[in-house]
Symmetry: C2
Subunit: 254 residues, 2 copies
């Protein structure tokens, strides 16, 4: 199978590396910043291309892994591509391809990628979708080379998965960042929290999060909640988040 990768960001990089590890060598890499395409192409023995018109017409798949807002215009530029076009987004509907391609679909890895952190792609759930059964089968065949956890979902369900992932991953990481800042401001090391963060994530690998909720809000420990609000009185951003999430925990309990 021959694949072309459009994009050179976090997702594009990890997908390209995972293909390579699965013995599927990406043919070409395109990026808005040509220099980024060159860097990724070197890592996976592919050719960097400057224009989307250079995309190899013999490729089986063209994989668009760019910022959501940029997908539609790239799809327009790939109208001549004869293979299967897929995007890797959680939030963009399948019909972004309608009219621009005959066989198209989605290959959305439900994971957070940062360039310098390797991931075990085989443990990542991959959501797949396509505009016809034959194409779905081909995409599944390709996705199976990357992971053993395939989920066939339509655009509506994928949107929910993506939104849930934002709460469980992006927002969570932001809470880590806020706590790191709070510690830093008080000359305390973020190292003190690292075991707790890992344990919190580890706990819900078996249990449901509702069953293992701890802390002053779920205990209705009003004295402590009040003390914390006082402690955050001069930090309106943190205070607002503290109140919002504590209130939400109390509501969930009821």
């Amino acid at each position: 199978m021959k694949v072309v990768i459009v994009g050179a960001g976090n997702v594009a990089t990890h997908i390209a590396l995972a293909f390579r590890a699965a013995k599927i060598e990406p043919l070409q890499i395109w990026s808005k910043q040509y220099q980024n395409a060159v860097i990724l192409a070197k890592q996976v023995d592919a050719n960097a291309i400057e224009n989307l018109s250079e995309v190899d017409q013999n490729a089986d798949f063209c994989i668009i892994a760019v910022k959501d807002d940029a997908i539609a215009s790239i799809v327009g530029e790939l109208a001549c591509f004869k293979g299967i076009i897929v995007h890797t987004s959680g939030a963009v509907k399948l019909d972004v391809f309608r009219g621009a391609s005959e066989n198209y679909g989605v290959l959305y890895p439900l994971q957070t990628f940062s360039k310098n952190k390797t991931v075990d792609f085989n443990a990542i759930p991959i959501c797949i979708e396509a505009n016809n059964l034959q194409t779905l089968k081909r995409i599944a065949e390709l996705a199976k080379k990357l992971s053993s956890h395939l989920i066939e979902v339509n655009s509506e369900k994928r949107k929910i998965l993506h939104l849930a992932a934002i709460f469980a991953c992006n927002f969570t990481n932001h809470l880590y960042a806020l706590s790191a800042e709070l510690l830093h401001t008080n000359d305390l090391s973020f190292d003190f929290l690292r075991p707790l963060i890992l344990e919190t994530a580890s706990k819900v690998q078996q249990a449901l999060p509702l069953e293992v909720q701890t802390g002053p809000a779920i205990r209705n420990d009003e004295q402590t909640l009040k003390k914390h609000r006082e402690l955050l009185a001069n930090n309106p951003q943190l205070l607002n988040i503290y109140k919002t999430l504590s209130d939400s925990i109390k509501k969930t309990q009821k």
Copy 2:
């Protein structure tokens, strides 16, 4: 060393088990609900006691591991105790003991505990504090039996650590719970998110959270942010959290 444990909740249970694993057998367990003291006492070969007046005066330590709001009144009832009294709270000041005891301190394990989940106590940072150097040494000696990560911090810094832990652990778990609920409502399994949750926590074991923030808010992906707000239009609680945290991510970026 002989210890008495006051409390039979999550923290008391894990501390009692950790003592036992370290060959320090708790002498007695007291709980507001006597039945809970009996259950924990059975697990660690201790005696359950009904009244605090029964606390063994020969014990070296009395460890108060109860809800924050209840500590002060228990301290009042333990005024006759001759050993070292400590509490295990992140948010209660050392001077809760003042006037009621001669030698007292804090032993606060920075971790989230649920009864049915075992933890590796040795990896847990333990914050210690005391009202004199000799007592601090004795508490350190005891804490070292549980963990190799001791941090000597005063009540002010401990309060900050505890608050940071609430952001990084309690609030994070609540976000997991909200995402689980969102999936459940849409007939999707929470299993799909579990690898993502673990990877998100795993990433910040080396990196700082700010360096690995991903998602639409940090990318300023306005189309996606707008779509998500629309998707949550009939769920004011989630919508409010979505907006609050997305705005906060954008601010941090600046």
